[in-house]
């Protein structure tokens, strides 16, 4: 099946988040509320953003995470800056 750029970005985000917070990759799905699924607070979410910046070699201002709580929306924000 053809994978769009956003799907690929999404997949990489899920893999990175799983590794960073030490949860099995298969437990995470694109529409998960990552605060709840990962059991993290907003500071830990900002930490994840730093990891994603390093991986995708982009800079994401903190405000890009404002109001975002699922991986799919996060992927679209990152995709827009790639």
């Amino acid at each position: 099946m053809h994978m769009t750029m956003t799907d690929k970005t999404l997949d990489e985000i899920l893999t990175l988040a799983a590794a960073h917070f030490n949860v099995p990759r298969q437990r995470l799905t694109p529409d998960d509320d990552f605060f709840k699924t990962l059991g993290i607070d907003s500071l830990q979410a900002l930490d994840l953003l730093t990891k994603l910046e390093n991986h995708f070699r982009i800079e994401l201002p903190d405000y890009e995470l404002q109001g975002v709580s699922d991986f799919r929306t996060l992927a679209s924000r990152i995709q827009a800056r790639l």
């Binding site: 605060f35 907003s42 500071l43 930490d47 903190d62 405000y63």
Partner: protein, 570 residues
Amino acid sequence: MLNLDQYSCLGAALRDALERWPDEVCLIESDRNREKTRLTYSDFKETARPLARALQDADFKPGDRAAIIMTNQSKWLISAYAVFHIGGVVVPLDYKLTATEHLQLLTHSRAKFLVVEYHLWRAITHAPEFSHNQVKTVLVTEAPLGADLAGAFRWEEFRRKGEPEFLSRKRDDIACIVYSSGTGGRPKGCVLTHENYLEQCKSLIAWYPFWPGVRYLSILPTNHAIDFMVGFIGPFVCGACVVHLRTLRPDFVRDAFVKYKITYVSLVPMVLKNLERGLKAKFQELSSVKRFLLNRMISLNRAFARKRLNIQRSRRLLREVHEGFGGELLAMFTGGAFIEPSTLQFFYDLGIPVANGYGLTEAGTSLTLNDFRPFRADTVGKPLPGVELRILNPDADGIGEVAAHGKTIMAYYLDDPELTAGTIVEGWLLTGDLGRFDGIGHLQLFGRKKNMIVTEGGKNIYPEDVETVFDGLPVKEYCVFAANYIWPDKQLGREALVLVLRLDQNQEFDDRLKADIVARNRKLPDFKRVGGYAIWSEDFPRTASMKIKRNLLAEELGEHLDRSTAVSEL
């Protein structure tokens, strides 16, 4: 520092600060590891005065209101200075609110001017309510080249040559309108006077002085009462420096402590816990020998500090820990009763005092603060100079509602005499918080009498404000409560919002309804979400105008439902 008794308004005190310490650095702004701005008080004057003049030329009149919606950065302070210089009123709005909420509060405050960051302005202009926007002049910061500003001006270009006319205000004139909450329901705009701020500043500085060379790290949003005071007014009237970070990533915050040799910082409980977690993880990574030595040093420091903390000695004993914070940290400020005593004790044992305090927007900034004479991990400290506190109707344990009196108490709630009359009674502010004094005059907090919660991130959440997201929910009726309001338990650790549902006749709570509730709940920012739901089998008591009688309903619920079995997690 300036003698604040001599001033009638913030504008005059700030104006004199710029003249008094022209060569001292007052602002540093850093984005990640890149320093973007460094201004002396003289540079600040050169930047702020042309803005003030341009505002005046744009028909800004004394008493006009200018809202600011910005993350922590130098332009926030420069803009606020300009507004105070020409006799204006600052309306600091929380940048984390939604565009719709921003528009509601802009309308409620009757702001004529707005200073806003580009990405926030873009969101505001896309909101459906934008067509009702009544702000006359909008200044947008950091807009990209060629961006559509929807009639706004670029902040960076909005300046005029020539001295602005300084316009003095009286002590009882309005300085700021600060919203303590109430976007969806009843906006609570706390009207704070110049006297409120000058007196609050005086009492805070008496205990925690600033001076030229002191560096305050601004992490809390500047729209927050604490950062506005200790991250703007306090440092400026003493010739000190404020460091802004454009990102709040924990990595960069830690770097900033070291790079800028920070003296003071204010933190919400969540950040403090994050720091504790990080330090403990680092300690765990040490070799067993090093960890043993570190623990011995901490024990030794704890023994020395039992009576009184000597920071110099702590820095010598625990050099590496203190160097991790830049080596010059004198205190970290935090607020509320959420901080676990063990966290405060952890930092105190390291020789890093965390001054825990208690305050509310209605009371300016802070009512109590820990002055470490002596250190108490289980209290929110003593009343600040000039603040009088009383415990109303104490029970057998001495616990009752905390009431406050003094020159820092707000004047009134904007456009809400009824709410004001119920909140400030004969000059005493009824805080809605339950507390008691211990034997040495420290205040201990035990819970809330009012229907609200405060998050670990320091946000006040009122149930009425989150209810709108459940509009149209297919049930007979619903109501959101703070769990502690229904089931008072004299502690603050279990604060959560609960959605109470009254189902239709023959209706069952099924997976579809639950999915609907979950989906709606997720539309709310994470800190505003409802934590659980409870089913109630009676019709809600209502007033003649069909408003839910919340207090009566809460009483009924508390009487007939047990929290541990009735509330299911969402």
